[in-house]
């Protein structure tokens, strides 16, 4: 399944060309040489640690003590751990809502930018500001935006000042509020990437298609639904996939904003793994938490690959 995805990444095969045999061999050599650094990196610093992570998940490694093999004990523990169940729920809520919002906002942003001609580049650059800012700073920023302490909290300061509120609202004090706050921070940071990608996608939809539709009497709304969106399908899928994976792995924003609280209301895979490994010192269990994510990711990739394949065949 993924081989096809790889093939699609490479695009349709180029027409056959004459190949000198000698060139072929030299090609292989060059390819090997060019790929060597990547190969070393991937093998030594990704696959090897991954292998060790898997091994570690079958041990009861506790910091300071040598590890002992315990089979599936960590997995069994987590499977019945209510805290872990909550982590899974939180991670999905966080990711799905956040990505959903980013898609919608991204389309909106692309539509707006697409409609202006003068200054488009300038605004596009300006709108990318959240995406290039350090996530730690973004987390701190939004923590302060939602702060209940009037001197720091933007919303509370403004609403209190305008007389709309008599007392500050503790946005992040409830599980729902805290989840909303971290989603907002993640959304704010991420939607510009969607917007810019979609904008570029829109640029590749031929103008003639729109003009023909206008001539046929289609209004702006219908043009959007029947031309723009389908034309963006590929970009939307690809961008969503990337964002989904980055978001479900997120550590920075949640760790800095809420540390996973209140209680465990915003605890996600990455933050829980960190807590178990570095505060409770249980490395075996800590690694296992993250490994639970791997099958989910594999399923995700497989699904998307299948989609891409179907679309590729259709073309």
């Amino acid at each position: 399944m993924t081989r096809e995805a790889g093939a699609l990444a490479l695009g349709a095969p180029a027409p056959r060309r004459r190949r000198l045999g000698r060139q072929r061999n030299r090609d292989l050599g060059t390819a090997a040489l060019f790929l060597l650094p990547l190969f070393v990196l991937v093998l030594g610093l990704i696959f090897y640690p991954f292998y060790r992570a898997v091994w570690l998940s079958f041990t009861d490694k506790l910091v300071g003590y040598p590890e002992r093999f315990v089979g599936l004990r960590n997995y069994e523990y987590l499977a019945q751990d209510d805290a872990f169940h909550q982590v899974i729920r939180n991670s999905f809520v966080f990711t799905v809502v956040s990505v959903g919002l980013k898609i919608v906002t991204g389309i909106g942003m692309a539509l707006v930018l697409n409609s202006i001609i003068r200054g488009r580049n300038f605004f596009r650059g300006l709108f990318l500001l959240p995406w290039i800012t350090s996530t730690v700073i973004i987390a701190l920023t939004w923590r302060w935006m939602f702060d209940a302490f009037p001197g720091r909290g933007f919303f509370n300061s403004v609403l209190l000042d305008m007389g709309i509120l008599r007392q500050p609202i503790a946005f992040m004090a409830t599980p729902e509020g805290a989840m909303m706050a971290v989603i907002v921070a993640n959304w704010w940071r991420g939607f510009p990437f969607f917007g810019v990608s979609f904008l570029a996608g829109m640029a590749s939809i031929p103008r003639e298609t729109y003009e023909a539709a206008s001539v046929d009497g289609a209004g702006a709304g219908r043009r959007f639904w029947h031309i723009t969106l389908p034309g963006l399908k590929h970009v939307i899928i690809v961008t969503t996939l990337l964002s989904f994976i980055m978001t479900i792995n997120d550590f920075n924003i949640i760790y800095v904003m809420t540390r996973g609280g209140p209680g465990s209301a915003t605890q996600v895979f990455a933050t829980y793994s960190y807590q178990v490994a570095f505060q409770q010192l249980r490395w075996g269990r800590g690694v296992t938490i993250s490994i639970f994510l791997v099958p989910l990711l594999v399923v995700g990739i497989a699904l998307i690959s299948r989609y891409l394949l179907r679309e590729g065949r259709g073309k």
Binding site: L41, V112, I132, I137, G201
Partner: protein, 271 residues
Amino acid sequence: MTRALTIAGLVLFLLVILVPFWWIASMSFKTYEQIQFASSIYVPKPFTWENYTGLWSETRFPLWLRNSVVTALVVTLISTVVAALAGYAVARIRFPGREAVASIILIVYLIPPALLFIPLYRVLAELGATNSLFALFLSYPTFTVPFCTWLLIGFFKALPDELEEAALIDGAGRITAFVRVLLPLAAPGLVASAIFAFTLSWNEFLYALVFIQDEKALTVPVGLNLLIYGDVFHWGQLMAASVITTIPVVALYMFIHRWMAEGLVAGGVKG
């Protein structure tokens, strides 16, 4: 879209994006008491530079900034070189297993840092790299290279075959064709790739938090986290640090964003 709707949308987005920045910048110019007692909300009164001077002279912030810059530059260099080489090979050289390699790159990118940070820590400790920036030079490419490679594959694919073919027929070797012909054409893609690598490296928090303990070797994100003393937050200084950290990256982007968007097009859309 109608003109009115467009303008409304533009204003809305501008507000959403700029207000948080303004809030932080504004607070960075307030004194501790102003923040504590919410005495002047919208415009700092009195306007003070003490947070900036305090940040620079009383904390290790300048050191952290230097560490972040050095790390980002080194990692960007490594990543761009490795990704360019690998991306070219996969995109332009027909070798057996080519598709498999492309898939592997995708899969590797999706392995979460949250999974690797524990065993990676042990590996780096065994190499003696922990507690120094070397740990980051080695570990950051694990997430920058796959992404940049994927991006560059798309970008290289988009370049016409003819030029390279012409060079090859003229008797030039692959490597020469790569360096002389393709690289210059791929400049936008390379710049995009470099900027991604720089941004990812600049932002990174988890690995820097876990791999480095020496306060003098911290990067800015971890240092900021440290500035939160616990009982007495130097809010103003934190804000000032946020502003200072953001400005260079913003400046870089305003200058180069055009290239970056093109890079996104070639990589994101086609890939």
